[in-house]
Structure formats: C-alpha cells, structure tokens
C-alpha cells in the first residue's frame, strides 16, 4: 500500500491493468451475487406458473420447469447484458426482439406440447373445484370462485375508497390547519403508525361480535381501513406539505373559500400521492388474510385468500394444477398493480418512514 517515493516511479500501466480487472471482476461478482440470491425468489413464482399451465390431474411434471428455465435464464441474462452494454435504443429493441423470438421458438419446441389451459377451467366451470374435492373428501359445498373474487374485489375497492377519502381529508387538515392539540394528535398518530395492530386482534374480534359486525364484509372493511390509516394519513400529509402554499394563497385571494381551494386547487396537485395510497391500500385489501380468517366464517363471505387457502388445504394432494391456477388468478391483480405502480409504491414506503 505504501506510495512510491516519487510519482515518476509509479507503474501506471500496472495500475491501469489492476483497475480494469477489478472493475469487471467486481461488477460481475456483485451481479452474480444478486442473481444467486434472487433465484430462490423468482424460481418458486415461476414454478407456480409452470404448474398452472402444465400439470395434469394427479401429477406434476417438473421437466417443464427445467426445460423452460434452461431457455428463459439464458434469454434473461442475454437481455440484461444487452441492456448494460447498449445505449442505442434501436439496437436494444432489435436485440431484445431477436432474443425473444429465439426464446419463444425454443420454448415451443421444448415444452410446447406440455402446455395447456385445462387448469384454468375453474374460471368458466366454477364447480370444478367442488367436483374434484367431492371425489377426495365429502363435506360441505364450496362456493364458486367468482363469489370469492367478487367479495375480494368489493372488500379491496371499498377499503381503498375509504382509506383514500379519510386519509386525504385528514392529511390535508393536519398539513394546513393549526388547531389546539395538533402536536399531540400528530405524535399520537406516529405512535399508532409504529404500533403493531395485529396485537389487537382479540379485542377487535370482541368489538365486532358485540356490535354485530362479526362475519360481515362491512366489519372487515372498517377494521382494515383503520389499520391502514396512520400510515396513509402520514403519506398524504407529506404530499400536501410538498404543495406550495402560494397556490392555495392565491386561490383564496381570488375569492375561493378554504374548501373550494382544497377541492379545486390543492387536490389535483396530490394526484400522485392519492394514486400511491390507493394502490397500496388495494394491494393490502386484496391480500388480507389474518383478519378475514378471524372475522369471516360464512362461505358466502369468503374472499380470495380464504378460498385459495381452503382449496389448497383440500385438494392439494389431488390436483396441483388447479391450485396453482387459482393462485395465479389470485396473485395477478396485485402483481400487475405492483409492476405498473412500482415507482409510486417505492416512493411511498420511503415517505412513510420519514414521517
């Protein structure tokens, strides 16, 4: 490590060689590390998808998984390398198209004959689960997947609307209005934000029971909404804080009342925030399990998480394919939302922590 006595004595070429080697080796090592630790995550998801489009009643063909992987992994790696080393957009697209075409062809040749959509027949034949299950066990009627889907959608959407409505109002008020006890209120909210609501599940169950909301979607919606509130109020407050005062001030100088200024001028400025909070609330509502499992019993009230849970409990051993297909069907909305709204979500989870 000691520096040479005179700069002239430095061996620049050796230093350059070492730097070049270190740069490539270092970056390759880091990316190899990321690939290695990320495979355990990607592979199971891909496995699930593969099962859903290839498994037939009674068995799972893992050959399809490995063959597909042997095509897709090189394709993805190739695309990654292409993206790192090409800045030219046209060449990037051309390369990507070539890789995609080659991969598609290879997939068709290797696994094309094993692929089928039979497992997704539960979509148009809602009683299929019941039929398969009936063969295995003999117990009470399973609801149609569309009942669960409708309940999930209703729950997630109502929850999203409620969270948005309540947290936008509260966030605006906390950001813009001075009132006695504001500091205390914010600090209390902060404690609630960090406080784990899961610990309150027993008393919440009892409150639902006493108020007659047990085993109703309304009750679950109210509970889940509330648990989201401290977080989303803070997010919305943060977004309102970022809207310059001048806009509002000038609107009010122009004769708008405070409420008009809020609706017409400020609200459009926080669209991104509302979108982020909304997407997040939807994903939360869509995936909720513990509270629905505890607060809903009637099969007509089942949501997707309960449906898939019982489907997997009952027919996992009999028909992997159907379970995987239902799972893919269930995960798809969250997955798509996540892919398309990723930027907002990441932004927000940061905002949420910074208060």
């Amino acid at each position: 490590m000691a520096a040479p006595a005179t700069p002239a004595a430095r061996d620049w070429e050796a230093l350059a060689r070492r730097a070049r080697w270190r740069r490539t080796a270092g970056q390759s090592l880091l990316i190899a590390f990321l690939v290695a630790v990320s495979l355990p995550i990607i592979l199971p998801y891909f496995w699930m998808f593969t099962i859903s489009v290839s498994a037939r009643t009674g068995g799972v063909e893992s050959v399809v998984l490995w063959r597909a992987s042997s095509v897709l992994v090189p394709a993805v790696v190739g695309f990654g390398i292409l993206r790192i080393f090409t800045d030219d957009r046209r060449r990037l697209w051309a390369g990507a198209a070539a890789i995609a075409a080659a991969a598609l062809l290879a997939l068709l040749l290797l696994v094309g004959r094993d692929l089928h959509l039979q497992n997704y027949r539960f979509l148009w034949n809602p009683d299929i689960v019941e039929e398969i299950r009936g063969a295995a066990t003999a117990s009470i009627q399973f609801p149609s997947v569309w009942v669960a889907f409708r309940n999930s959608l209703a729950l997630a959407l109502t929850q999203t609307a409620l969270v948005l409505f309540v947290s936008t109002l509260a966030g605006y008020y906390l950001s813009r209005f001075q009132f006695p006890g504001r500091g205390g209120f914010l600090q209390g909210l902060l404690v609630l934000h960090a406080f784990p609501a899961m610990t309150l599940i027993i008393p919440i169950f009892l409150l639902m029971y006493w108020s007659g909301l047990l085993d109703t979607l309304t009750g679950v919606v109210l509970v889940i909404t509330t648990l989201e509130l401290p977080f989303s109020i803070f997010i919305m407050k943060g977004f309102f804080d970022a809207v310059p005062w001048d806009i509002e001030m000038s609107a009010m100088t122009d004769g708008a009342s405070r409420r008009q200024a809020f609706l017409r001028v400020v609200l459009p400025q926080v669209r991104v925030g509302m979108l982020a909070v909304g997407v997040f609330a939807f994903i939360k509502g869509w995936e909720e399990y513990v509270f629905v499992r505890t607060l809903l019993f009637d099969k007509q009230n089942w949501v997707m998480s309960l449906y898939i849970f019982w489907v997997s409990e009952d027919i996992m051993g009999v028909d992997y394919g159907i379970v995987a297909a239902v799972a893919v069907f269930y995960i798809l909305p969250s997955f798509l939302l996540y892919i398309f709204c990723q930027k907002f979500l990441v932004q927000m989870s940061l905002g949420g922590i910074k208060g």
């Binding site: 490590m1 520096a3 350059a16 070492r18 270190r22 740069r23």
Partner: protein
C-alpha cells in the same frame, strides 16, 4: 509533479455529450483555469482528471503514460469540491488525515502532517471541531488542507470560491495562489467567474458546450479572443458588438462606414471593448444617454452612428452628464472583427475611423 495531457477526450452519458474533442496540455507546476458558463462540462473534465469519471473516448496521459483506466485512488490527486465534501462524521483532524490512512503513513506521522497542512491553510486551532461547526470559509480551508496533505501531483479545484461571500472570496483568491506557488503543485481550477480565472491562473482554458473555445494567457483571451463567445464572456463590462457588412475595403456599421484594414468581405461583427473608447477630437459624434459611476471608473452609454456603445473611462467623477454631446475615438488595434457566420475572429483585420 506531473505533466498532464488530454487527447481528444470525450465524455457522454447516454445521449448527453458533456465533453467533446478535448485537447489540452498542462505543464508541470502550471496553474490552469477552466472557464466557462455553467453546464459547459468543466466539472466533468476535472472529474476525468481525478479519475472519478472515465472518459468515453480519447486518451488521458500523466507524464506521457495513459491513465484513462487508473482508479482515482491510485492517481495521487487532491481535489476540493464545490460543496467541500468534508466527511461529516469525522472531526477536522481526522478529515485531513483521511487520505493518509490509505497510503500506509504511520499514525504519528499522519497526525504531524495533518497539523502541518492545517497550519498551511490557517485552521490549526479548528482541528478538534466537527465540519458542521465550521463556517463556509473554514470548511473550504479544511478541504484544501485535506487535498494538500497527501502531497498530490495534481491539485484540482472545482469552483472553490463560489460558496463564499465577496470579501472572503477575495482573500481566498490570494491565499490559493500563494499555496500554489509555495507547493509548486500542478493545479487546475474550474470556475465560471472570469475575474477568478484571470487573476489566479497562468493560463485559461475557455470552454463552451463541452468544447474548448480558446486556450491562452489572460491577456491572449482579453486582447485576441479567438471567437465571439470568448470575446463576450471575458471582460466586464462586456465588449461592444456591432453587426456590419464589409465590402471594398470599407465596413458599413449602423448608419456609417469605417475604413477596413486587412482583407474581409461579407457579414462581420465588430467588437470594441468599453475601455478602448476614449474621448477624442474628430472621432465618432456621440450623445451621452446614461452615466453609471462604478467606483474608480465611470461607464457611459453612448448613442453613436455605429449604434449604442458602452465606454469605460477612469476617474470617479464623470466629465459628461446625460444629454451631453461629444466625440469618442479608438485605436485601430483595439478593434476586433469576427465573421458573422463562423463566429471566429478575422486575424489581422481592424477598422479605423474615416479621416
């Protein structure tokens, strides 16, 4: 110390070209300033010298040997950033000692050298403070000490004075010049302030939009600007520029004609520095439009047959008042002509007032 050579250096990020076709030689022990408006690629050039950015193309040589790929840590350069970039969690002493840590300098000697460097920039009484407890000027001195402590072969300064107030800037200008003389280190200063460049540097590299416009001593740039850009960028108040048409040994400007010395034809731009204009019998008839006292000098705005001209005369009290009629003249050598299409100077072409 080192002799630095840049050959056809180019740096781009995606589509953005920050620096293009840069050719420059910096002699051992020289003090060079890179001058240009903000965003013209000065810092990018400096960072390439430091090894923070790698040139996209071209060759960077230290003492004749290519160092493009040599890492920053191996180059033995000292750098002062515009924001000073002191390590916020280390006190002044540790900040200054930081570079020595990686050179294998024994602790005791490192501490001694840190004190020495601190004394050089007059911050020895601040050694135990944290950066957050220092004023801007003090932070800047510490940053200088940190850059000098490792006895670099090249000292890089990125707008080191731009965050200081006017008086501090003046004293730091002399201070940095003194340090450079004292250590004899090859120095590159980046600045957008022409006064800083002209007062401190031996040579100035004037840049515009990623390219070098002109390299020369301060006098070169002032008296013989290669281009319209350099002429207008150097000098305060700015040079008078007047569009005209050269034909048959005469130059038509505004409502009058001047005698052309040297060969020129077509559309040209005539440049006359405000300091080159002086009152003179038989000169241009001029009406004083406005008078601006500027301390020891006075600036006059004149209406002349050539158009409006600024003239700078020494003396705090104005010999003329607004509305006065008088006559101004200039020496032919002080007139500069530029081609309008190429914006380059027409060498050895001047104009003279008609007799």
């Amino acid at each position: 110390m080192a002799r630095i050579e840049l050959r056809k250096i180019r740096k781009q990020w995606g589509e953005v070209v920050a620096v293009e076709d840069l050719d420059l030689v910096i002699e051992d022990g020289e003090f060079v300033a890179i001058l240009g408006p903000s965003g013209c690629g000065k810092s990018t050039t400096l960072f390439m010298l430091a090894g923070i950015y790698m040139p996209t193309a071209g060759e960077l040589l230290f003492d004749g040997i290519p160092v493009n790929e040599v890492e920053a840590k191996d180059r033995n350069v000292g750098i002062v950033f515009q924001s000073y970039a002191l390590y916020p969690h280390l006190d002044v002493r540790r900040n200054i000692m930081f570079p020595l840590k990686f050179k294998g300098v024994p602790k005791a000697e490192a501490a001694r050298r840190a004190v020495e460097a601190a004394r050089l920039v007059h911050v020895e009484e601040l050694l135990d403070r944290m950066p957050s407890q220092l004023s801007g000027g003090q932070q800047q001195r510490v940053a200088l000490a940190r850059a000098l402590v490792k006895e670099p072969q090249l000292l890089l300064l990125d707008e080191p004075l731009s965050n200081l107030d006017a008086t501090l800037r003046l004293s730091m200008r002399t201070e940095i010049k003194r340090l450079q003389r004292h250590t004899g280190v090859t120095t590159v200063l980046v600045t957008h302030d022409q006064i800083e460049a002209t007062t401190m540097a031996d040579r100035i590299v004037c840049m515009r939009k990623g390219r070098i416009e002109q390299i020369g001593t301060p006098e070169d740039l002032y008296e013989r600007p290669d281009s319209l850009f350099v002429a207008s960028f150097i000098g305060a108040p700015p040079i008078n520029l007047l569009p005209g048409e050269a034909r048959d040994g005469r130059l038509a400007v505004g409502g009058t004609e001047l005698e052309l010395l040297g060969a020129a034809a077509g559309r040209v731009i005539l440049g006359i520095r405000p300091e080159a204009l002086r009152p003179g019998e038989g000169g241009l008839p001029a009406t004083v439009l406005d008078v601006e006292p500027m301390g020891r000098e006075t600036l006059f705005l004149l209406e002349t047959p050539l158009g409006q001209l600024r003239a700078l005369l020494s003396g705090a009290t104005a010999p003329y008042g607004a509305g006065d009629r008088t006559a101004f003249t200039f020496d032919p050598e002080d007139s500069i002509l530029f081609s309008e299409s190429s914006e380059r100077r027409l060498p050895d072409v001047h104009v003279r007032l008609p007799a």
